[in-house]
């Protein structure tokens, strides 16, 4: 059986301008959404606060839960249903991190039992102090940044044999980031600046494969973050795990295309770069689609059946796989051409 015939030849590169516009618009929408919503919506992992998951035996009105919480001073908490509606499960979230000796779960239990006249079970409590939230936020940003940097070293090393150059550059960047972070510079700002510096350095050092890969990755991550922001979903630790996995996954796709480009460059040196890149994408297209399909299939299973806790994680993965597949075809490879165009103009 074969979905995609081996002699397929779609002109991907010819449509790169359209793709460029589509990508830019999506990224702009993502950024706009982030600005409108005042930054990403942090879950308690990053913002600090308390999360309580309760399960009622019988259907319960949200208003009853609210009035119950009001009696113990948690009036400002947000309540949302969790999982399937016939589970009668709710997530209660407050900004306060309740660190006192008072036993919160028992208090909530009593208050809700009284106000809803319904038997319930407290299934999960998570409390994160504000300082921990801030620490985790910074750690998450560092994790994203460092994984990007390590990956680019690897790519420049493997594809262009510039291990030392990229290693030194990455080392210097890491040193600079570490050094500056000691001076209480705002971490998000610092990481953003470091990313821009990285991109500029890549451009001037002509690390084009690494540049292509990293642009594709930033593209994937920012669009995923944007869609999360549009859907009003929260950023939690598992979502960061999902984003890092997306980075790994999308890169997987990108590298396989790059690898074919490298191989074809050696074989057919006469052909123009555009044709080589296009045929490389076509040759690997069957694999790209197949792998995306199988991965997508399992992640959709996870999304529909994995239960509420893993729901958002699976959602992020679905977006990531779709965007990642798109970007390895339409974003990473055309970046290689951008160099050639640049050279011709000189």
């Amino acid at each position: 059986m074969q979905f995609i015939k081996s002699d397929i030849n779609i002109n991907f590169i010819g449509k790169r301008k359209i793709a460029f516009i589509v990508s830019s618009v999506m990224i702009l929408i993502s950024i706009a959404s982030l600005i409108i919503h005042g930054g990403p919506r942090y879950g308690i992992d990053f913002a600090g606060g308390t999360l309580i998951q309760v399960k009622f035996l019988n259907p319960t009105a949200i208003d009853d839960i609210k009035s119950g919480l009001a009696t113990i001073g948690l009036k400002k908490s947000s309540i949302q249903t969790f999982g399937a509606s016939d589970d009668n499960e709710y997530l209660i979230r407050t900004d306060k991190s309740l660190m006192t000796d008072k036993e919160l779960s028992e208090e909530v239990f009593q208050a809700l039992k009284f106000s809803t006249k319904n038997d319930l079970e407290i299934r999960r409590i998570e409390m994160v102090g504000p300082q921990v939230g801030k620490d985790l936020r910074e750690k998450a940003l560092f994790a994203m940044f460092f994984s990007l940097l390590f990956i680019t070293i690897y790519i420049s090393g493997r594809f262009e044999f510039k291990w030392i150059l990229s290693g030194v550059m990455a080392g210097a960047l890491m040193g600079a980031v570490y050094f500056l972070s000691l001076f209480h510079v705002s971490i998000p700002f610092l990481i953003g600046a470091a990313l821009i510096v990285t991109l500029i350095l890549f451009w001037f050092l002509q690390l084009k494969y690494a540049m292509g890969a990293i642009v594709a990755l930033i593209h994937d991550v920012s669009i995923t973050v944007g869609i999360f922001s549009i859907c009003g979903k929260e950023f939690t630790l598992p979502i960061i795990a999902a984003l890092l996995t997306i980075i790994g996954y999308s890169l997987n796709d990108t590298i396989i295309v790059f690898d074919r480009i490298r191989e074809n460059l050696r074989k057919k040196q006469k052909n123009p770069l555009q044709t080589i890149i296009n045929s490389s994408i076509n040759e690997t297209l069957s694999r790209t689609v197949l792998t995306s399909l199988t991965t997508l299939a399992v992640v959709v299973c996870l999304f529909t059946m994995g239960g509420g806790i893993i729901h958002d994680f699976a959602f992020a993965m679905i977006i990531g796989i779709l965007v990642g597949t798109y970007s390895s075809i339409y974003v990473a490879s055309p970046i290689l051409i951008a160099w050639q165009v640049q050279k011709k103009q000189k």
Binding site: I125, T245, C301, L302
Partner: protein
Amino acid sequence: MIVIGIIIAAFIYVLPTFKPALWPHKKINLGLDLQGGMHLVLEVDTQKAVEGTVERIAQELKDQVKKEHIRNIIIDRIEGTKISVIIRDPDKVAEFDKLLDKDFKDLRILSRSNDGENLVIAMNLPDKRTDQIKKMATDQALETIRNRIDQFGVSEPDIRRQGEKRLLIQLPGIKDTKRAKELIGKTAQLEFKLVDETHDLDAALKGNLPPDSQILYQVKEDPLTRRTSETPFLIKKRSLLSGAYLTDARVQIDSQYNEPYVGIDFNRKGARIFERITAANVKKRLAIVLDNKVYSAPVIQEKISGGSARITGNFSAEEARDLAIVLRAGALPAPVNIIEERTVGPSLGSDSINKGLMSMCIGGILVVLFMIIYYKTSGLIADFALILNILLIAGGLAGFQATLTLPGIAGVILTIGMAVDANVLIFERIREELGLGKTPRAAVDAGYGRATLTILDANVTTLIAALVLFQFGTGPVKGFAVTLSLGVIASLFTALVLTRAIFDYLLINRKTKTLSI
């Protein structure tokens, strides 16, 4: 041969998880999110430990000054960790300096100035010494809490230091979280102090506090109405005896009122001190103060020798037991604050396992079916590799004693999707080579040869992301990083070594003209 060896090893490691009786090795650890339990991060208030040390030194200094009969000197702890000394009598300066040089070399003199007639000295501890105190406070807190938890009886607790002054505590399967938190978080600073009966309590409550005394409360909870009442006491600041001299603490039942209390025993030095203070203060009230709360303040009837005392205070049996544990395990050197808490009920945990495994099975079946339909016999080989892959991940988890968490299950599911990727790459390549007119044997060789590097490159990057995640993550996320890394390595092995071996076997033994791919 290696292939078979690895498979058998993985199988042996997985076995105990399903049939514990067959093989006495360790099972796969389940994370707190799957088996229920409590995850706590505590921060040790190390500043308080420094303050405590400084307070003790100031107290010692006062004692020495008194002993040497150096009068007209006021010694106080100010701004938390400084000691201020005001000497009103210029003649005494030399004497005081001598004392300072002899017994208090530790102290660093910050300033020395004349304020009219008075000489004002400010002192504190050198930075190196405060750092040491802080470090020791965290270490000691870790030890003490470990002791308490061991005595409380939790199976397989995980207690470790996290960073400079944080402690990470994981208590799987714990049900009474309230009790556990009280047990862990209690400073358990036991002190014996005299009640100040020379000054008026009411005047003190109005703000007219004698300099050497403080107001502490006795908190009582009515077991029926659950209302608490607070009774104020005027207590002398000076601590006569502390919990540091305890050798034992245990629950006993009062035969008269049938109420539990905690009986404590002092060591020899403590017993001597206790005897001395009870002898010197007959008919006065001695308050038993725990964490700045008065438990009782009985009148001393006579000199008590033998070194035993009892702490009463309307305890329930559980409260008395926990108090005995914390007293036995010793006081925390500084108060601790809970800065992160995650509690998962056991029912949610088992729900998560069921749902996770369910989606894993269905996802797996989908992929397996797809591979067979798309690649026929070769697909079957890939499926075989996939199943071994899962076995290898499970074996790896058990072998490395890693923890399986809910995101970890997601990691396995993701690997199922991605593991076939390597095979897809190889098979597509073989198809291409076959399309060029090569024989099955040559096509397989070329396919593997060409695809190997690509597969390595592609998987190393995923591995990099997973390793960074492992570094950064805590608990569940770390579990994800572990299964993802194991999955990547396992899929490299199955795709490049295992399926290759199967193909070779098929193609050598029968001189196949066609390849089912």
